[in-house]
Amino acid sequence: MGIPEYWWPYLYQYGVGLVIFMIGIFLILGYKSCNLTRQRDRFWFGVLIFGFIWYAGIHFLWYMAALYIMPAEAAGGAG
C-alpha cells in the first residue's frame, strides 16, 4: 500500500527542505560562521533546529486535525 497522495506535499517539503537545511547547517558549521564553542552561537544553533521542528510539527498536527477531527469528512477524499 503506497503513501496516500495527500501526504506527498508534506513529505516533499520536509524531505527537500531538510536537504537544503542541512546543506546550510554544514556550511555554517564547516566555515565556523556558527562556532559552537561560543555560548551565543550554541543558542542560535538550537533555535535553528527548533525552527525546523516547529514548522514540521505544525504541519503534521494540521494534517492530523484535517484527517481525524472529522473522520467522516475525511472519507470524502483528498484533492
Binding site: 517539503q13 527542505g17 546550510g24 555554517i28 551565543r40 535553528l48 472529522m70 470524502g76 484533492g79
Partner: protein, 661 residues
Amino acid sequence: MTHLLAQQTTQPTAVGTNLDFVVIVAYLALILGFGSFFGRFARTTKDFFFSGAKFSWWLIGMSMVATGVGSHSFMKYAQKGYEHGMSSGMSYMNDWFFIPLFMFGWLPIIYFSRVRSIPEYFQRRFGTTARFLAVLVILEYMVGYIGFNLYTLGTAAHQVLGIEIWQAIVAISIISGIYITAGGQTAVIFTDLAQGFMLLGAGLLLFVLGLDYLALDSALVDGVRALWTNLSLSERLPFAHFNEPQSFNFVGVFWQDGIAGSITFLFISQGLIMRFLAAKSVNEGRKAILFNTVFILPLSMIVVGNAGWIGNAAIDMGLIEPPEEARDIFVTIASAVCIPGVFGFVLAALSAALMSTIDTMTNATAALFVYDVYQPYIRPGASDRHYMRSARVTSAVTALLGMGIGLFFMTFGKDMYEVHGQFQAFVTPPIVAAVFLGAFWKRFNSAGAVAALIGGMAAIGLSKFFPDLVRPFAHGVAPDEDGQFNYMTAFFGLMCSAVIGVAASLLTKPKPDAEIAGLWIGTMDFAQKKFKGANPDYKVGQRIRAGLSVSSDGTTPMTTALTATDFAQGKAPPRRPVGTGPPAPEYPIVRLDPADMERLKAAPGDLLYVSDSRWWLGGLRSSHCRAGEPHNEGNAVLMHEDAYEAGNFLSGRTVRVEKFF
C-alpha cells in the same frame, strides 16, 4: 454572541459608506503626521537610510510584517482561500530552510562589511560590470513594484469605494512620499510598526467577525465548527494537491515561493536588507528574523487568507451568493460581516499594507540611486550634508515616479502589468543565483557573476520560445494554455544561472583572497575584526544602567578606528574616506566607571551600545560607542556633547549600556 458588528444581510453592500470614508481619511492623516514626526531623527545619510543602525529586534521584526504583506496580498490570498481552502497560505510557511544561511551567512556578511546596497556588494565582490547590471535590474524592479502596488490598491479602492483609480494612486503616493522624504528609514520603520499592528488587527478582526457570521446566533466556537465542517478534506489540508491543477499546486508554489521567493526575499531585497542594517547588531537581526518567521508569518497566513475560507463556508451554508469573480471574495466578505466604520477600518488596513510596502521600496530605491549612481558617478566626494539633500530629493522623485508608473499601468491595464511580471521572471533568478553563489562559494568570481546574469536571462528567454526546456523541472505539472510552465520558470532560471556561473568561474581565475575577505561566509571572523577595528571579544557581560553626563573629558564626538588609548596618546583620526567606498567605522568615545566596565566585561576600545533605558523606544534614542579609559566619577556614562545630540538622548534619563561584541 450576537452580530453586533455584522450587517444582517446576506448580500454584500460592496461599496463603503461615508463613515468608512471618514475612517480611511482619518487613518491616512494620522499616518502622515506620525511618519513626518520622525524627520527630526534623520540628520545624516546613515540616519536617513539605516536609522543609524540602532534599533531593537521587535521594531525590525514587527515593521517587516507590513513590508511583506502588500495590499494585493489580501485580495490574492483571499481568492486562493476561496478557491482552494486553507492551503492558500502555504507560501507563508516554507521559509525556514534558508534561515541558517541567512542568520550565519548573509546577515553577518552585509552587516559587518557595511554594504549599503546589493549593487555595492556586487561591486566589491565581483566588480564594476556586475554592479552596473545589478543597478539596472534592481532599480527597474523596485520602481515597477511600487507602480504595481499602487495600481492594485487603486483598483481595489475603485471597486470598493467607487473612487477613481487615479485618485487613490495620487493620494497614497503623496502621503507616503511626504513622510518618507521627511523621516527616511526611521519614519518607514515606525509607520510600518503601526501599520503592521493595523493590518494584523484588521485581518484578525475580520476573521473573528467572519466566524461570528458563520455561527449565526450561536457562540463563536460554533462558527469555528461551521467553518471546519463546510470545508472539504482537501480544503482543510495545509498543502494543495501535489501537482494539480496547473494554476495552483504544491510543487509549483514550493519551488517558486519556498525556494526562489525565499532566497529573493532574504538575499536580494534591498528594502529588507536596509531594515536589517537598521538593527543595532547582528544578534538583533537574528531575533527579528526568528520572530518574523516563526510567529508572524503563520499569523499573516491567517490574516490574508481567512476571508476566502469564510467565503467558501458561507456560500456552502447559503449565507451569501457566490461573487461573480473569485477575486471579489475579500470585498464580498468584508462588506458582509462588517458594519460601516468597521468596514472602513478593514479598508484602511489595505491602505496600510500598501503604504508600508511602498515606503520601504521608495526609501530603498533612493538609497540605491544615491549610493550606486549619484555618489560614485555623478557627484563623488561631496559632503554627507549634500548626500542627505540628494537622498530627500531622490525619495520625492521616486514617489512621483512610482505614481507615474501606477498611472501608466492604469492606462495600459493588464498588458503592462504582465510585461512587468515577465521582465521580473527574466531578471530575478540570475541575480539571486549570483548573490547566493557569491556569498557561499569562495571560488565564484566576476566572470561567473556576469555569465550567470547574462546567461541566466538568455536561458529563461529561450524557455519562453521553447517551453519544453522547463518540462524536466516540472514535476508532472501541466503547462498553461500558452504552453508555459509558469511556476517552474523561476526554478529553471535559477538552475541555469547557477550552472553557467559555476562553469564560467571554474574556467577563469579566482579573485585573490584579500579582495573578497569579509564578503563570503568563510571569512566572518575577519569581517568582525574589521568591523570592530580590533579582535572581537566574545566574553558576554551584563547590561548596566547608569546616568548619562555630558563631558568632554576624554570623550570624543567621533573617531575612526582608533582605540581610546590611541586617542589618549594624541593620535589623530584619519580622514574619513569619501566617494564610492563604504563608510569607515565612526564611534564616539564614552567613559564608564571601572565597576561598570567589569560588569560589562568590556575593555577600552570595545564597542558598546548606549540607549535610553525605556525599552519601548526600541533604540530611537541610542548610539554605538567605543569604550574609553574608565573614570572615577561613579555610576555614570560620560559622553561628548556632539555624540549626545547625535544619539537624540534626553537629559535626566538613565541609559542602558551593553557590550556590542
